[in-house]
Amino acid sequence: MSANTDTPLLEMRNIEKSFPGVRALDGVSFDLYKGELHALVGENGAGKSTLMKVLAGVYPFGTYGGDVVIDGRVRQFHSVRDSENAGVAVIFQELSLIKELTIGENIFLGREPRRFGVIKWEELYSRAQKLLDELNLSLDPRTPVGHLGIGQQQLVEIAKALSQEARILVLDEPTAALADAEVETLFRIIEGLRARGVGMIYISHKLEEVFRVSERITVLRDGRTVGTQPAKELNEARVISLMVGRDVNDIFPEAEHERGDVIFEARNVTVEDPNVAGKLLVKEVGFKVRRGEVLGIAGLMGAGRSELLMGIFGAWPGRVSGEVYVEGKKIKVSRPSDAIRQGVGFVTEDRKRFGLVLDQTILNNMTLAGLKKLSGRFVTDVDAEAAAGERAKKDLRVKANSVFTIVGTLSGGNQQKVVLAKWLLTNPRVLFLDEPTRGIDVGAKQEIYAQINRLAREGLAIVLVSSELPEVLGLSDRVLVLHEGRVTGEFKREEATPEAVMACATGHTQRAA
């Protein structure tokens, strides 16, 4: 189906959106026609999700610049409800279904057919059944959603969108959690929706899929539209170069680290999804790190990077297999304390959720992991602790009036430094860093980069996971690329060009070191 010549179903004109300190969208334009599937691609943080949240009314009218035009009329969405009424439905990566309720209840949640406030269950379930039939899903609408696999839940979300007579459907990484057979079902349904004239926006990191289903592709980079072209006129390599085209070298201090012996090695690490038996998130991944070396792990969302580190650290809730060696000695890690004892530190992602006790002081957070080493096994030495905290605060330049400031009141960058200090105070030999600069301002990022270089110079082995490709390339001596849980490439610092790494990260090419 070629692009229609009549007015587009949706037009987003010059959308601008800023957050404190960050310009997330800087004049993005995007359009969508009836029955079209328009793919939106870009690196993590390029602005895709922000753009979709503007469309969905998550950011209400007035908090962004530019116009959202549907059917030729400028719309002002003040809430998600408004955008739903205009026919927009977004299926986010985190599904928004209630597991305890049935399929039918979920589809009509908040819009149950009723008379005088009494729900008409027969009508609700017969209408739900009809929707499921239209999607060729052989499911009973009275089944609780929690009994379904993730893939089927996603399809229920689509049914819900259809029940709202959505004409614009946003699919955000719809295949991330799906098995291959489920992906085929999804694509079949997409074809059906296309025939019904639904316009779809498809966000995905999997370029192969993007080329398979989309008519047009728009590439975003750093909050700007880099280009919109028919998929036929593009290929994967071209899209990759559009995604990354940017100068990397200016913000990273040139750091050539003295590398010593291999201090840490992981072999054949396999990590299973705790919710879906048999689904492997990491498949037989191995790597080595030397003293004083920074090993970067690149990959797109869902490539299994955090899962790999969590698995090695003994913190993954699902099944993990593989071997870990510290200084050539095989170690057994069944819980985080085992790894910590062997000198592994782990600056986890999402500091508020996994890293900090927000109600407590800087000092208490800094000493949490290394408390027993710092101040005795049972009775703590308050002064030794305070002294260590003061030193760490100074070394890492945590900006706070005292180590007794409550961590929750600090800025993101300073919170991140506290998490880093926590792990340095365990005296690690190898340090995992997972998204160490997520959500912090540029100045604080530079400071964290400087710290990483300092630590490597001092002989620490570092494994760095980051969604920001320039960060990985700028800091690492060696880069490992993951795609769908497998190693698809390994690069030395000088060979690691953004294009080459991104090609491996999207599964376009494979490459050995």
């Binding site: 049972f378 002294a387 009036n401």
Partner: protein, 412 residues
């Protein structure tokens, strides 16, 4: 708030030893001359102390009579009685605090007081040690069973201990066949109602003051050794003189009323140990971390299950202690002893600023909370307030305390 919190060094809060047992407060905090917990935590502590003083003065004023022209409420004759009454709740509150701080709860406490006290009373024939020891063993055993089910069985604490509340009450009813057992051993009785000879009180005061001096000066030396700035001479003197004066006043007061009640001494010991446990041990620190953010605690290498189990065992031990104080005071063990005590203990914690969500609360706060509750009880009884009204007032105070706390927190 961190940005504008650049307060001058003179804005240092006074020593907090009047609120908490020595060693329970992480000192050295003030040594930097900037302490930013003041707006939240310390302010809350001071508000609580002021509320307590206000309640005391109110009852003192209301109990003025020709016989007691200055009021009877704070008179040692009444007040040592009040403290004796609160000792049981206070000991339970310290134990309860440990599990609440870790984000858990225990509703079985009252029933276990009945069970452990009953076991002690029924085993008096086997000797004092057997009787008292068995009460403690029962407490710890119950704690281990319930803690094990919560930590390793993944059953919510509310459910496990609600079940415990019913089941343990049933156990003691079965054991005792519904009979009330009198306390016959003199020492057992003394635990609940005895008073320390005045000389012993004086010796205790001296020992306590010596301990305050010793800890203050070893802290100064330790801080210097670690290269931290140490407080000046004036601050140190203040830090010794204020608690010392309070200790002397307290002992004098108790001696004036015939000597310090034994249960009060037990409560003080439990509070000091509890304060030390929460503030100066890895165990205590981990409990706060577990209650504050279990994910972060787990990823920092803390074995959550093990520490939860330990917290319930310590609580169980304190429940055993409380059951002895209670049984000794009443003079007999009845199968319905201890009913509703879990609620008093939880209320004491909450009034004392403990968050039921976990991660926040202090031993000193819980003890002051218990003191506020006991003061209300005692004062209203003196004023012949009718029973129904007493319940209503206590309920309102509980909700109001948390309401004010929330208001203050939202502002900050």
């Amino acid at each position: 708030m961190s940005e504008r919190a650049n307060q001058p060094a003179t804005n240092r809060p006074p020593a907090t030893a009047d609120v908490s047992p020595p060693g329970a407060v992480p000192e050295g905090v003030e040594a930097q001359g900037q302490r930013f917990r003041l707006p939240t935590d310390s302010l809350r502590a001071y508000t609580m102390i002021f509320a307590l003083l206000a309640i005391w003065l109110f009852f003192q004023w209301k109990t003025v009579s020709p016989l007691y022209p200055y009021g009877i409420f704070l008179h040692p004759n009444n007040f040592s009685n009040l403290l004796q009454q609160m000792a049981v709740t206070g000991v339970l509150a310290v134990g309860m605090l440990l599990v609440i701080v870790a984000g858990q709860i225990d509703l079985s406490v009252g029933s276990v007081v009945g069970l452990a006290g009953g076991v002690a009373a029924m085993t008096q024939d086997y000797g004092l040690l057997a009787a008292l020891g068995l009460a403690l063993v029962v407490g710890v055993l119950v704690g281990a069973i319930q803690g094990g089910l919560i930590a390793y069985g993944n059953i919510p604490a509310f459910i496990v201990t609600l079940g415990g509340m019913l089941a343990w009450r049933g156990v003691i009813l079965g054991f005792s066949k519904g009979q009330t057992v009198p306390v016959t051993l003199p020492f057992f009785r003394w635990l609940g109602v005895g008073k320390l000879p005045q000389e012993v009180g004086a010796i205790l005061a001296v020992v306590a003051i010596a301990a305050v001096i010793f800890t203050t000066f070893t802290r100064v030396r330790a801080r210097k050794r670690h290269g931290l700035s140490a407080p000046g001479v004036g601050a140190n003197v203040l830090r010794v003189v204020v608690p010392a004066a309070l200790i002397v006043l307290f002992i004098y007061w108790m001696n004036y009323g015939g000597g310090m009640p034994v249960p009060v001494l037990v409560l003080l010991a439990v509070a000091v140990l509890g304060g030390f446990l929460t503030q100066n041990t890895t165990f205590g620190r981990y409990l706060y971390a577990i209650g504050g953010n279990p994910d972060a605690a787990r990823l920092s290498g803390i074995n959550i299950r093990q520490y939860l189990l330990a917290a319930y065992c310590v609580l169980g031990l304190l429940v055993g202690v409380a059951s002895l104080l209670h049984t000794g005071r009443v003079g007999s063990a009845s199968p319905d002893a201890g009913t509703y005590m879990e609620l008093d203990a939880i209320a004491a914690c909450v009034i004392g600023g403990t968050s039921l969500m976990g991660g926040r609360g202090t031993v000193s706060g819980a003890v002051v909370g218990a003191l506020i509750m006991a003061s209300l009880d005692n004062g209203m009884s003196l004023l012949n307030v009718e029973n129904y009204m007493q319940y209503i007032v206590k309920g309102v105070v509980l909700v109001a305390a948390v309401g004010f706390d929330m208001l203050g927190r939202r502002k900050s």
